[in-house]
């Protein structure tokens, strides 16, 4: 039932930094002292079809809070909001294609009235050379709920591993590594949404 034609997408180009990564617009750290939840660091690299780093990508993430509730009016679930957690992150990439976030592990959000989804973080990729942004999800490799997640089941089995962030411990720090491969061997599964 569309009435108006959509406005088309164009690449973010190479020079988005002043506009989208100005000091009060970049959001590598999603947590405050009062934020509820298990602290995690997400790290990864964005790589192209030659396995070369993409130094001019922009990564945005969107996630529920530790209780599995989105800070959004459409989420009318029973789980509480966390006033110290917005759930949005934005990171540029460095010369080696690296990006990072400090956040909390999200809780499981609803899929339908009965079923929950496995904990996941929505990941959006913008870059020079991407005429449309790409959307994917980060899942946690050590999460048993992955086996039943309705979205992961849509992904061909041989490609599911591209959506699983690998857990590493660095002292007390829990790091989940999530590389984003735009093209070629190990190409990340992206969603048509």
């Amino acid at each position: 039932m569309m009435t108006l034609p959509l406005t088309g997408s164009q690449t973010v180009g190479p020079f988005f930094e002043p506009g989208l990564l100005r000091e009060d617009a970049r959001r590598n750290v999603l947590t405050q002292a009062e934020t509820v939840g298990e602290r995690i660091r997400i790290e990864g690299r964005v790589l192209d079809g030659d396995a070369m780093p993409v130094p001019d990508a922009l990564i945005e993430i969107w996630q529920a809070n530790a209780h599995g509730r989105y800070n959004h009016p459409t989420d009318q679930g029973q789980a509480p909001l966390d006033p110290a957690f917005l759930g949005f992150g934005r990171s540029g990439t460095t010369e080696d294609g690296g990006y990072w976030f400090e956040t909390i592990k999200p809780g499981a959000v609803l899929f339908d009235k009965e079923q929950r989804q496995a904990p996941h973080i929505c990941v959006t990729v913008f870059a020079r050379g991407l005429l449309n942004h790409l959307m994917t999800r980060l899942y946690f490799e050590d999460e048993p709920a992955n086996a039943l997640d309705p979205i992961l089941q849509c992904v061909p089995e041989e490609r599911r591993a591209t959506l699983l962030a690998r857990r590493e411990s660095r002292g007390a720090l829990v790091v989940y590594r999530f590389d984003i491969i735009l093209q070629g061997a190990g190409e990340t599964a992206f969603f048509n949404v």
Binding site: L4, G8, G19, H72, L110, I151
Partner: protein, 246 residues
């Protein structure tokens, strides 16, 4: 220019959205995914999004002619760029964040990787942002950007453009695009603009000169409306199966 469209991965509406692989735009060649995008049902994760929360906490900064903090004013033709943000059913999208960035009047970006010998303007950062009002209207004051030379092919120049980033209400409505100016000879030979599949959809990226927006002895006026996807029904009201994909 001959339309060179390779690959069949197209996000959403094929009349509107470019393919990921568009050979004439060289940067797509090693960055476009080659495997099909995965079809998935929409869930709460896609029907929510950061737009409402981030828009509520972001301060406006909509005068690009004076926001460099130098006390001086940017050089160039002063322009007003205004329009409405709508969803595809024609509803206004109120209180949503727009972020823009652009080259200066000489076509130079303030960025360490832009090193062509166009002059920088110390009074111009080329970035701004604003929120739509309750009727979905946004408004920026800026200067008209110059054409920008790039290395995509010999003697390549991008038409004057302003980059727009818009959130809207959900993940589905997120859009990054570019606004172009009317009567620019570079449109037809620009691979990025040409990546939009249809003439009608390309035309919708071009602002309209509007003399009613123009202010006497102050600034020329341009009008450009943006139409975003959604919002759609709440997830529990969505029909099952393919219709839920919209």
């Amino acid at each position: 220019m001959k339309q060179i469209t390779i690959g069949d991965i197209v996000r959403g509406d094929q009349e509107v959205f470019p393919p990921y692989l568009y050979e004439a735009y060289q940067s797509t060649r090693r960055r476009a995914p080659t495997l099909p995008l995965i079809e998935v049902p929409l869930t709460l994760s896609e029907l929510t999004g950061p737009g409402p929360a981030i828009s509520a906490i972001t301060a406006e900064d909509a005068d690009l002619t004076r926001n460099a903090g130098t006390g001086g004013e940017a050089i160039g033709q002063r322009i007003i760029v205004t329009g409405r943000i709508l969803d595809d059913r024609g509803n206004a999208v109120p209180n949503t964040l727009l972020e823009i960035w652009q080259a200066n009047a000489a076509g130079r970006y303030l960025h360490k990787r832009d090193q062509w010998p166009g002059p920088l303007d110390p009074n111009f950062l080329g970035m701004g942002r604003c929120l739509t009002d309750e009727h979905g209207v946004y408004r920026f004051l800026t200067i008209r950007p110059g054409a920008y030379p790039w290395k995509n092919h010999p003697n390549a120049w991008r038409p004057a453009h302003i980059h727009f980033s818009v959130f809207g209400p959900s993940m589905l409505s997120r859009l990054v695009t570019q606004m172009y100016f009317p009567d620019d000879s570079l449109h037809a030979i620009d691979p990025i603009m040409s990546s939009i599949p249809t003439e009608a959809a390309r035309k919708r990226l071009i602002a309209v000169y509007d003399h009613d927006v123009t202010e006497p002895e102050w600034a020329l006026g341009y009008r450009w409306d943006i139409v975003l996807r959604g919002p759609y029904a709440t997830p529990f009201e969505l029909p099952q199966g393919e219709e839920a994909q919209q």
